[in-house]
Symmetry: C2
Subunit: 129 residues, 2 copies
DNA sequence: GAACACTAGATGCGTGTGCATCCAATGTCC
DNA sequence: GGACATTGGATGCACACGCATCTAGTGTTC
């Protein structure tokens, strides 16, 4: 009984925290760098794991996006010149995604914004609690 | 420096948790009860705070939805007969939203699904950590 | 090696969202 | 009391999403 209430409470708090931060992030990244949150997350993944994988799959694996959403997001990034797609010779169904120089540059710039939003809205929540 | 990493780590974990649960919730509620997550949250708010407020505003206040999203969600709920809108006589711009009998019924049914999804996907995350 | 199942990723479609704007009702100020 | 700002909510629009489906490449089985 009480555990149910606690569960719901937990969920609501998660919901609120997430939306608060996500909303600010989305706005800040978009205004300052023309990136959506998902797009930034993709760039961020690419920067972090610079090994050679059959990207689309692997990206999707540790992200929250659906396969189709990822496909389109990468398409957008490519169109903006932040990323390039190259097909994998070993398995010609696969597609490699790699950062371009400009993509790296954009990510570096956006990272600052990202961190500052997290600092003001994510930490604030913790101390507020 | 390390605090930055911790911050990002925190955010990623929030992001993952949220999407995991939200995705399952959305699906389960939709399949079993024809409700979206937001719609359920609205019903839930209405059940919890059964006082007489000038709803739209107050609903929006402690929810994460934008004003326009809320307006449409309520419109959908009304169309399905789960909620009714009545204009407020005191301030004729305001709109009261109230649960119908069917809305209450639907909420009760959906609540079970809601709790069970939270139990399996929210608690699971905690113990897994 | 031909038929069949499976996998990687792209795409058509319907839908929910935020933003900007609009409309009507309320305040406010002279 | 008439002009102007403000507020509550609805709506047009553009867009990102998930689902289902499609295409092309890869395995498998006989």
């Amino acid at each position: 009984m009480t555990s149910e209430a606690a569960l719901v409470e937990h969920w609501r708090s998660l919901l609120t925290s997430y939306n608060e931060v996500a909303c600010h992030l989305e706005r800040a990244l978009s205004e300052a760098h023309g990136l959506s949150m998902s797009e930034f997350e993709i760039l961020d993944r690419l920067v972090t794991q610079q090994c050679e994988k059959r990207r689309m799959q692997d990206l999707a694996a540790d992200m929250y996006l659906s396969q189709s959403a990822l496909s389109r997001a990468v398409a957008r990034l490519e169109k903006s010149g932040l990323v390039s797609r190259a097909l994998c010779e070993a398995d010609r169904r696969g597609v490699f995604v790699t950062l371009t120089a400009e993509g790296l540059h954009r990510h570096t710039a956006a990272r600052t914004t990202h961190l500052s939003v997290l600092a003001s809205h994510l930490q604030a929540q913790d101390t507020r609690r």
